[in-house]
């Protein structure tokens, strides 16, 4: 059974058809890429899978269950984690708090524990601390544990966001332009990080990226979106040489 299956996903924003008949199937452990020019509907696709937008029509089946119409936090708790193009970190909170908050759905101590500080709560919070530290270590940001995220370098913030998504213990990780705004050095670093979590955690990864080098390096299969429709799908080599892809990115030659 595929891990995630998206069938004929379509969404309209008013009269605008942002995504049309989008299909994708994920086998466990697969790494797929989604590319396309600005405004092609890549992030919208992510938003539909994670429940932020409700598709106009189509099905999203995760582990045999249709998740269309579910709340984003429920979808996330099922094991679909994502990162954002603009990170969406919580600016007043420390790195540690970020990771622990991603474990929200695993809290068992309830309101009584929160109000009165029961032993059960202390036990679980300590457990969370340990688990969170593990993720910080994994992404090599453990030395920033108790710092507020706002002052951290951009590359570190990206890693914190990644660690936060991993703390959900997802089955599939959706990365929305993880190298956006990075310099080449940070970018290579990020590619290493993604490869590392792919190998170590055996995660299924869905990657939106603008930089061809990153996608070509990491992905097994790449889809290309243009104006909300898939115009090409294949291995990195196939995509690189696909005429329609080149046309979408660079434009067509016109005889004058």
């Amino acid at each position: 059974m595929p891990l995630l299956e998206v069938k004929n996903l379509t969404i309209y924003f008013g009269g605008l058809r942002a995504v049309h008949n989008y299909n994708v199937t994920f086998e466990p452990g697969q790494v797929r890429g989604l590319i396309g020019p600005n405004g092609a509907g890549k992030t919208t696709t992510f938003n539909m899978i994670t429940g932020i937008h409700r598709p106009t029509s189509g099905e999203i089946i995760f582990e045999g269950q249709n998740i269309v119409g579910m709340m984003p936090h429920d979808i996330a708790s099922m094991g679909i984690a994502r990162t954002f193009q603009n990170m969406r970190l919580w600016r007043h909170m420390t790195v540690m708090e970020h990771i622990k908050l991603a474990m929200y759905s695993k809290i068992e101590y309830g309101l009584i524990g929160a109000f009165f500080g029961t032993p059960k709560r202390h036990k679980q919070e300590t457990e969370f601390d340990e688990k969170a530290y593990h993720f910080l270590k994994l992404l090599n940001v453990d030395r920033y544990t108790n710092q507020v995220v706002t002052g951290l370098p951009y590359g570190v913030q990206r890693r914190v966001e990644m660690a936060r998504a991993l703390a959900i213990v997802p089955k599939i990780l959706l990365l929305d332009e993880p190298t956006a705004g990075m310099n080449p050095e940070e970018m290579l670093d990020m590619v290493e990080v993604i490869r590392q979590i792919k190998d170590e955690l055996k995660l299924t990864i869905f990657l939106i990226e603008h930089r061809m080098r990153v996608v070509m390096d990491l992905c097994e299969i790449i889809q290309t979106l243009d104006f909300g429709e898939i115009i090409a799908e294949g291995t990195p080599d196939e995509i690189r040489n696909n005429e329609r892809v080149i046309e979408a990115y660079l434009g067509k030659e016109v005889e004058v």
Partner: protein
């Protein structure tokens, strides 16, 4: 770059230390080593001295009675007495407190270390709180004025903290606190009058008045829950949206509750509601305040409670990270309303009389000022804000309505210098306050 900055700062500090006056330096060195326990002991000594020899001492310094508020009110009423008041405060409070705190530092540090290592945190907190209460009790025993002031300060702390939950931790702007307070006040009042008082409207008491003080906590809690239910009226329509909507809806709520109370003849209408037994004595309020601070402190430090900060900082991000945003907002808001309701119930039973006019815009601005003066997102800030503003209100009382010009101006200055308040976004662990300092 940062390292050099720090180095320069350190150098400056060293320079200051060497050039500073010797006794001051010595004192600073000494006082730094005094734990919270030592300060409490010093304060207790000072208040005991005042309660035993305060009046003769005050007379000796040329004051006709013990200055109620450290002589602060003389600034407006009789400036000529200020020097005497300063001497009085020095002799009665500061010098004895310093001597005791510094001289017992060795013992108190050892005691604090013992309590930190051997006792669970709540017990440790209770011991400190008991000592603090003893100090305040002795301080208050001089005049009824001080007891009333302390009662209002405690209630203000509860209100400020609970409003900070919504305006600080949750990042919404709620104006419904006077409404919540009045619901709690009226609910608790109706229950106590119905059960324990012979009243013209509600008839003879149902239960023996002897039981009153024992049932009172239950009544307060029930009043708090009723307030929480009332808070749903604000929460449900406004939490679907963000931003200004809550401010508008909650302001409307305050006015609706107020005019509802004004038009209900059975509870006195605009004339107010009286006959409440004065169950809310100083120790009772103190215990409730400690409970309030303790639960809110716990809540804001738990991952469950911090979720509301995540929702404030980025709701979409929070939702994508498994946080149930709707539930989080609801919990925080109803929790805040609960404590506002309890504070209202206590307020009614301090005064023995309430009327709807008390819970209007003036009350709202008072609580808001306490929150924003003290600092958003900080338990300690809220406590400081409540105490500070309540003191200021008392201090400026001789100015009558003019104080409502002075305080807003002060607030504006604070907002310009520190936009989020004096002690904002600082989280202080209670263990750090109570720890030994040697």
């Amino acid at each position: 770059m940062k390292a050099t900055d720090n180095q320069i700062k350190n150098l400056e500090r060293v320079e200051k230390k060497t050039t500073g006056i010797r006794p001051v330096r010595w004192l600073r060195e000494k006082t730094r080593r005094v734990p919270a326990l030592g300060w409490l002991l010093g304060a207790l000594t000072a208040t005991i001295i005042e309660s035993s020899v305060g009046l003769p001492l005050a007379r000796a310094f040329g004051l006709w009675s013990v200055p109620g508020l450290f002589g602060l009110r003389f600034i407006f009423t009789s400036p000529a007495s200020i020097p005497s008041a300063v001497i009085y405060v020095l002799v009665v409070y500061i010098i004895p407190a310093l001597i005791v705190a510094v001289s017992t530092a060795g013992i108190t540090n050892r005691a604090a270390a013992f309590m930190q290592d051997k006792l669970p945190v709540p017990i440790n907190v209770i011991i400190h709180a008991a000592l603090l209460y003893a100090t305040l009790h002795v301080w208050g025993s001089i005049t009824d004025y001080r007891v009333l002031l302390l009662s209002f300060i405690f209630i203000s702390i509860m209100l400020t903290l609970s409003l900070n939950l919504v305006n600080g931790y949750m990042g919404e702007f709620s104006c419904s606190h006077p409404g919540f307070m009045s619901i709690g006040a009226y609910a608790a009042s109706i229950m106590t009058v119905l059960f324990f008082v012979n009243d013209d409207v509600f008839g003879a008491h149902i239960l023996s008045p002897v039981l009153g003080p024992f049932i009172f906590p239950i009544i307060l809690i029930v009043g708090g829950f009723i307030t929480s239910i009332g808070a749903l009226a604000v929460a449900i329509p406004s939490f679907r949206t963000r931003g200004d909507y809550l401010a508008i809806i909650s302001l409307a709520f305050t006015f609706i509750v107020k005019s509802l109370l004004e038009n209900l003849e059975i509870i006195g209408g605009p004339r107010g509601f009286m006959n409440q037994p004065k169950y809310a004595s100083l120790p009772v309020i103190f215990v409730w305040m400690v409970l309030c601070i303790w639960t809110i402190y716990n809540f804001t430090r738990s991952t469950l409670g911090k979720a509301s900060c995540a929702v404030r900082d980025n709701e979409t991000g929070a939702d994508a990270m498994t946080i149930n945003t709707r539930r989080t907002k609801m919990i925080t808001f109803l929790f805040a309303a609960f404590w506002a309701g309890v504070a209202g119930g206590l307020f009614a039973h301090v005064m023995g009389y309430i009327n709807p006019a008390t819970f209007g815009v003036l009350k709202l601005s008072e609580v808001l000022a306490m929150v924003y003066l003290g600092g958003l997102n900080s338990v300690l800030g809220s406590i400081a804000g409540a105490i500070g503003l309540q003191f200021l209100l008392e201090l400026l009382r001789p100015l009558a309505m003019l104080k409502w010009i002075v305080i807003p101006v002060l607030l504006i200055i604070v907002m310009i210098r520190r936009p989020t308040g004096l002690i904002a976004f600082t989280e202080i662990k209670v263990e750090d306050i109570l720890k030994p300092r040697n």
